[in-house]
Every structure is written in C-alpha cells, then in structure tokens.
Amino acid sequence: MMDRFKAFLYAIKSEVWSQSSGKAALTLLSFLIILSIVSAIMLPPNFVSVWNDPKPWGIKPKDAPPQWAAFFGYSCAPHYEADLRGFRYVLGISGNEVSLKYTLTYNLNSKSFPQGIAIKIDGLSLVGVQSFRIVLNITRPDGVTVPAVLTYLTTATNGSIAITSIVLNPDTMKLAGTLITLYPQLLSVVNLNDIAMNYPTYLFGTLTNTSRISPLNGLYRLELLVIIAVPRIATAADVNNIVNAFRDSQDFRVAVIGTCYGVLGTDYRGRDIGLALFFGLPIALLIGIGTAVLTTLIGLFAGLVSGYYGGAIDESIQRFIDVLGSIPLLPILILIAVAVQQAYGANPYKPIIMLLVILGTLVVFGWGGLAIVVRSMTLSIKSEAYIEAAKVAGASNWWIMVKHIIPQLLPYIAAQMVYSAPSAILTEAGLSILGIQHGLPTWGGILADARIYGNVSYWWWIFPPGIAISVTSLTFVLLGLSLERAVEPRLRRV
C-alpha cells in the first residue's frame, strides 16, 4: 500500500510538474508553505492581544500608505522613531533632581505635514523617587524654539513609579497657545481651536503668504528632558538606579509621526498592514488545507461505503446528502458564526473556537459532492471481474476497498481535494467582510476594516490583502487544474 501510494505521489508530481501551470502551482505552494512556517515560528505569543490593543500602535502613522509610495509621487513626511533606551544622553544633576537630556534631529523634506508627535513608555519602574517629568522642546529650522511641546508629570506613590504602558501626546490647547505667542500673525488666518485641532500643521508649517500654511522644510532639533526628583540630594547610587531603570524598561521611544510607513502601510489605528498579512498567511492556509483534507476524507469514506455496500446504507447516505445539499450553506454558516461570536464574546479562546466552528461547518456541508462522485466510481469498479476474483479468493470487504478501489479513486480525489481549498479560504475571508470577526488578524479582517473605517478609499488597504487571498487560492486552483489534466486525459491537448 505504502509503495503504491509513493508511486502514485511520484507519478502525480512528475505529471503535474510537466505542465507549466503545475510548475507555477507547485512553486507557489512551496513558497506559501515555507513563508507560513516562518510566520508561525515568528508569531509572538501575545500577538492577538497586541494587535487588538490600541496602545502599541499609538506612535505609528494612521491611514498611512507604504513608504515606497513616495516613488510614485506620493508626498511622504518621513516617519522618525528613536529608541531612547540605547540613545546618547547628557546627564545633569542639580540638588535633588537627576535629568537626562536627549537631543534628536528630524529632517522634514516633504510637501506634507507629519501627523504628530508622541512618546511611548512601556514597563518602566522607578523605585525610591519622588516624581518623574518629561519636557520636549523643538527648535524649528527658522531658529525659533517651541518650548514644552509635550510635557508629562507623574508623582510617586510610596516612593515608586510604575508605568505599564502609556503613549504621551502634546496637550494641544497649551501647544496652540505657545504657538500663537511665538507667531502672533497666525491669528489672522486661524483661531486657537483650529491650531489645537491640527497642531502638526502649525508646529511644522510656516505662513508662506497671507493665507497659506505650507511645511517648513529643514532640520528640526528635538530636545527631550527627562527629569527625576529623588527625596534627597541625588547621589551616584540614585543616578545609577535611574539610568538602569530606563535601560531595563520594555520600551521608551519618541516619534515624529510621518505620513508613510512600512512595507504595506497602516490602518486606521496605525497598525502595520504588512504584519497582519504576514501572520494571516498560516491561518488562511490552515483553513484551506484543513477543510480540504477533512471534506475529502469524509466524502471518500461516505461515498465508498455508500457505493460498495449499497442497499439501505446507500439510500440513507444519499438522502442525507440531498438534505445537506438543499440547505443554503452561507446563511447557516453566518448564523452559526454570529451565534458563537455572541456566546463566547468574552472568552479568551474565542478566536480559536470560532475558527474551528467555521471550519467544522464548512466540512459538514462540504463533503456531499465528492461522496456522490466517489459512489458512482465505486459502483463501476465494484462490478469489475477482478473484484469478483478477489472475493472468491476470500478477500475481506475492507481489503478490497483499501487494495483495489481506493488506489483507483486517488487521482480524482486529489484533484477534488485541491479544488475545495480555495472556496474555503474565500468563504472564511468573506465572513470577515460581513463583520463576523474572530479577532485574529486575517486578510478578510483587514478588508473588512478597509470597508468600515477606510471608506474604500485607501488602495494600500484594499489591494494587498485581496491579492494575497487571490494568489493563495490561485495556487490551489492551478494545482487542481494540472492534477485534473494529469488524471483526465480528455482534457489534454490532442
């Protein structure tokens, strides 16, 4: 059996490989499988919760096209991020205060304004301190320093400060006031509220003529002061303690948020679409291959039993398939998915449960067609003389099915199996489009967001996930086509 199976696999492989569509399919398939293994290995264990948490994405550009869009004439304000944990600082000690001064430069050279400024701190814990203060001053290319663009102050409780995760943004009203004191002429064009609503435009812009604000290109100097007060005159031990605390924090970075980001752009929360595409691949493949293998196994077994044994078993299986075939699959699938979504709303395993339920429903409703084909083929093989001979020689039913019937069915089943993969992938993605989301970052989920939050107007949000879905299912379609041609000589060229 094993040898025959190997020979069959080898024959299929060489037959498929001899066709150009087969070559394309096998190449694509191995590429996808390797990529998804890499992705599954690299997937951080808490990725789903990070993905759905707005905080980690607070310092990324929102609705930003990919960086390479600049080559096609899109004006990109550069995105600048500096991890301050490894950054050079100037230490200052005065009285009971220890200060770390970071100086960074941001080069704006664009027709558009950055989206803003933010500081992100994760997992910082300071012990034996009184207060923790941050001040960010920006010196513009025109030489004017805007003081206290972003300020932050927190005081210790019981001598310690613990920050799990925060994203700091400028106090826009205060910043607007500062900008107006520095540039009183702004008031002739806009009022305070407008500046506050749209502070990056005025922080990074200049009044070119009486009414137009355009970006002020050049080098911006960002001066970030971190000031920590300790309850005594600061000692070397305090400085050591503070410096270590910052170095050991999980994240401490400042960002000038640009308008282009990453390989595939970002969504409405600033999440990297490229990441979702990368980590969505194993899920899509799992659904496609899982559904295909399970439906095929059930269809093979049911069709075989139905055709081989006949009689009441056959009749009941066929009528069961009739009933299954009459039920509208998609509405039932949506109904089940929505019900499960509601029932397991708060369950941490909800994504897995929903994924399994969707997969299960696709399998339960999907095996009928194959079972009908397998049955009719079994019927014709059963009446062959060598089956009679095997029976006379005392072969059991099981033996006949495994030894004589299944090997003949295999090629057809292989083609059918491959064909059922893309429809499962497309159906699962389609469910996400309807808003039935299990919470895992899938390709369909990104498309759904593009519809709801992107108003169908951002190309980097629509094209890459759709192309990813299409290429994956095209792989299976091409494989199916060439398998079908390999086993069905009538489809070959004369």
Binding site: L335, P422, V456
Partner: protein
C-alpha cells in the same frame, strides 16, 4: 420502477429535505440561545423605558414603581414566551413558516433594508427586496450564462489553442478572485477615483419604486427615464459579477462539452465528414443539454437568495443584505422565512430538473 414512481419518490424526499432545512435553521436559532439574548435585550429596554415613564410622574412611591415594573416585566416575558423553553417558541414559528404564515419583523434594522418601518410583515419585507436582487444578481447571472454558452462551444474544437488557453487562464484567475473583493476594487476605482459610479447604492430603492408606479400608471416616459436611472445603479455590480462568474462558467461548460467531444459517436460524425457546425449542434450540444440545463437552472435559482457578501459590499438593499441583517440582528421570522423561500426555490428547481431529465434525455426513459 416506473418513471412516475421515481419522480414521486424524488418529490417526497425533496419536500422532506425542505422541511428539515427549515427545522435545522430554527434549531440553530433556538438552541444556541442567540435569539433569546436579543429578545432579552428588547425586554430590558422596554422595562427601562417603562420605569422611566413611571418615575417622571409627580409624587411617586418607589416601592409602587418597583412593583408595577416587575409585573410589567413578567407580562413582557410571557408575551415573548421567554418563560417557556425555546422549543415552545421555535416549533410554532417553524410550523407557521412552513404554511406560509411568516411572522412579524422584530428589528428596525431589518425593516429598514426593505425601506419599511415597524410594524412590518416578514413576507412584505422579503417581497420588497426580491426585485432588487433580481435586477442585479439574476440579470448578471443571465448575462454570464448567455456569454458562456456563446463562447464555450467555439473553443471546444480548439482545445489547446491560444483562445482555449486564454479562456482556461481567465477561468483560473477569476476562480481565485473573490467577487466581493473585486467589488471593493471596482467601487474604489469607479466610484471613488473616477466618480462615474454611485458611492451609495441604496438609492436604487427609490428608482425601482418610481419604475413600478410608472409601469402601473402606464407612463412610458417616466418608466424609461427611471430605467436609465436604474442602469446608472446596476451597471457596476453587474459588471463585477459578470467578470468573476464568466470564467468558471466557461470552464465548466467547456468541460461538459469536452466529455462528449471524445465520444465515439462524435468521432464517427466527424469521420463521416459532417461540417463542424452540424456536429456541434446535433452531436455535442444535444447530449450536453441536460447537464447544461442543470447548472443554468440551479444557478438562476441560487441567485434569488442574493449574494450575501457581495450585496453587503455594495450595500445593495436586496435579499442577501436582508438575510445578513436578519441574522446579525436576530430576527427569527425573517431568517426562517428567507431560509424557507430560498430552499423552496432550490427544491422546486431540482424537481423541475428531474422531470426535465425524463423529457430531454431519452436514455433515462429506458
């Protein structure tokens, strides 16, 4: 067995399948407790409003308000049938659906798809949405079928030629591209970038109602002018669907014809020197008629349910959107009514096919 008995048996089993489908839907609605949650939310909302109205009255006695509210809540629980297990609510609903007495729509959002306000009957809502799905999806499917039946026979004799290979590649591509994604792309290009298609498709409700009233009044001018309006709404969805469906349709028709092309009687006809046209018409298309009829009829029957995802993407107020809205908001009468109607259409189409096989294919009668 005589043909009559075979057909009767099929009719019985198909009817059974229909009933089981509706029961299964009812079972999923009831057993998962999904609709119960929706009803509970409605009751809580009504009770809250009731309590608020009572508290607004002058010199209220709090304990009296509590007592009144409690009895009001118990009354609501009894009216909605929440005091009994779900089976007592679902079974009567399934039964009345099966005898075409669809219940009332409970959710505003479901009635809104049809352009109605509550109270509305599920049957009226379904009937209002049906024409909108027909003008978009059924028409698109018809166009696809006609094109496929025109193109496929032309490439049957030229298997492996350039035209054939293009058709196969096109079919493989469109088989892999989801319709709803192409819909998103088409909306992105034609509605948002080029501005030649509408961004909101709900306006089709008004166009169709002016069309039907103009038709009733016999006003030809108004009818044709709103027909132009209708075209401005439907062309993009129809184009989208035709582009994606045409490939698979051509491929499957081609496969059906190819199965016959290699038959001995076709070879014999070619060998006799009959012209290709005659061979195609008399020796290939005739035996291919019944499988082609099957996919045409089942395909058309399937369109009446709307394409749930594609309609949602276009925000097209048809059967698919209605179905989805009913499921998403938990409206049992509409869900069961739609499941019943759609399964009924499918089952009837299957039955017609059984009869047609006997009429079209003399081999069955042997």
């Amino acid at each position: 067995m005589s043909i009559g008995i075979i057909i009767m048996r099929r009719a019985v089993f198909l009817a059974l399948a229909l009933i089981i489908a509706v029961f299964l839907t009812g079972f999923i609605i009831g057993a998962t407790g999904y609709v119960d949650n929706v009803v509970k939310a409605i009751i809580n909302e009504e009770v809250r409003a009731y309590r608020q109205a009572l508290s607004k009255m002058p010199n209220v006695n709090q304990s009296y308000v509590d007592k009144l509210t409690r009895s009001y809540q118990q009354m609501l629980v009894r009216t909605y049938g929440l005091d009994k297990p779900w089976i007592y609510r679902i079974i009567p609903l399934v039964y009345s659906t099966l005898i075409f007495k669809f219940g009332d729509v409970q959710q505003t959002s479901v009635a809104e798809v049809a352009g109605f306000q509550l109270p509305a009957k599920a049957s009226d809502v379904i009937l209002a949405c049906l024409p909108r799905t027909i003008v978009m999806i059924t028409v698109a499917e018809l166009i696809t079928i006609v094109l496929a039946l025109l193109i496929a026979p032309r490439i049957t004799f030229k298997i492996g030629s350039l035209a054939d290979r293009i058709a196969v590649i096109y079919a493989a591509l469109t088989n892999a591209i989801p319709v709803w994604w192409l819909a998103l792309v088409m909306i992105f290009i034609f509605s948002y970038r080029l501005g030649v298609a509408p961004q909101q498709f709900r306006g089709v409700i008004k166009v169709l109602s002016t069309m039907s009233s103009a038709f009733m009044a016999g006003n030809a001018v108004s009818f044709f002018s709103s027909f132009g309006n209708l075209l401005s709404y439907v062309w993009l969805p129809i184009l989208t669907i035709v582009i994606t469906l045409l490939g698979p349709w051509i491929y499957s028709t081609r496969a059906m014809l190819l199965r016959i092309v290699r038959e001995d009687f076709v070879l014999a006809a070619v060998a006799r020197g009959l012209p290709q046209k005659v061979v195609l018409r008399k020796y290939i298309l005739r035996p291919a008629l019944s499988p082609i009829m099957t996919s045409v009829l089942l395909g058309l029957a399937g369109t009446l349910g709307g394409y749930i995802i594609t309609e949602s993407v276009f925000d097209w107020p048809g059967m698919g959107t209605l179905y989805y809205q009913a499921i998403a908001s938990g409206d049992p009468a509409t869900i069961l009514g739609l499941t019943y109607i759609l399964t009924l259409v499918y089952v009837v189409a299957r039955f017609i096919l059984e009869v047609l096989y006997v009429a079209l294919d003399p081999r069955v009668r042997l």
